[in-house]
Amino acid sequence: MISIRYGTVLFALTLLGACGDRPQALGFKGDESASAGTLNTSFKSSDWKAGDKASWEQALRARAQNQNDYVKTP
């Protein structure tokens, strides 16, 4: 008799559990910074340290100067 009662309660809880609402928050959930580095380390350029934002910014500024062909010619 007790097991039937427990079974009924368990069944009722299971049914009620299905009525629960999953969180439906919209929007973006977060992203790690580019300066944090990459899992794909074999393609990482070597002139900065992963996690060091200042060195990453410096490396990108230096790299951007590769597009400045006026500094390549006298």
Partner: protein, 207 residues
């Protein structure tokens, strides 16, 4: 660091479509989706000008403003990205964007419109930097590798510049000063109808 930006120097662009190809190849962009394309003004007329166009990573991005599910976000570097897990493919962003950047792949048996795809400034998406899932959804994350976008680095004439806005603005300004022309191909006169870019129009308005 300032915001990451693109500038295309129309005096240098030779409409080779190298940037388009570099982007397609780098990110394995599917058939029918063009994150970047080359647009030619006055095509076939002597003096035609070409510019390479993709997402301009607007400072006040209209796509972000209209998205009903708020899937867009902006990184610390000013790159406008989106979360494909949140995107519902409604297309509002494509109506809002003045550059035609948002693209929608045809997916499914009945050609149902897929989730939006656009230029990421080679910065991937919300998944872990350099992960396989990030690559499959957004393409390579070159920024996290310490590199600039493939389109600009591949550009043979260095018409397309990408990087820190202050740095590339300096490069472009230096070019204009050295060659003594070229700034006028961008701006009001070109966009809104003077006969010759950089020259006053007949109505006497400033070009």
């Amino acid at each position: 660091m300032a915001r990451m930006k693109f500038i295309c120097d129309a005096e240098r662009c030779i409409e080779c479509n190298g940037c388009v190809t570099a982007c397609k190849n780098e990110h394995e962009v599917p058939w029918g989706v063009n994150r970047r394309r080359v647009v030619t003004l006055n095509d076939g007329i002597p003096g035609e000008k070409s510019i390479s166009v993709a997402c301009m990573h607007c400072s006040d991005a209209p796509c972000m403003a209209v998205c009903p599910v708020n899937c867009f976000y902006k990184t610390d570097e000013g790159v406008v990205l989106h979360d494909k897990d949140v995107c519902i493919g409604c297309g509002y962003c494509s109506y809002a964007c003045p550059f035609g950047a948002p693209q929608f792949p045809s997916q499914g048996t009945f050609g149902v419109r897929g989730k939006m795809d656009k230029c990421t400034f080679c910065a991937g998406g919300p998944e872990a930097n350099g992960s396989q899932s990030e690559f499959e959804k957004y393409g390579r994350n070159r920024l996290a590798e310490g590199k600039l976008p493939a389109c600009a680095e591949m550009c043979s004439t260095k018409a397309l510049l990408a990087g820190d806005g202050d740095v590339i603005a300096d490069i472009f300004r230096n070019r204009v000063v050295k060659r003594n022309k070229g700034a006028e191909v961008w701006g009001w006169g070109t966009a809104y109808g003077s006969k010759q870019a950089g020259q006053p129009n007949k109505a006497g308005g400033k070009s």
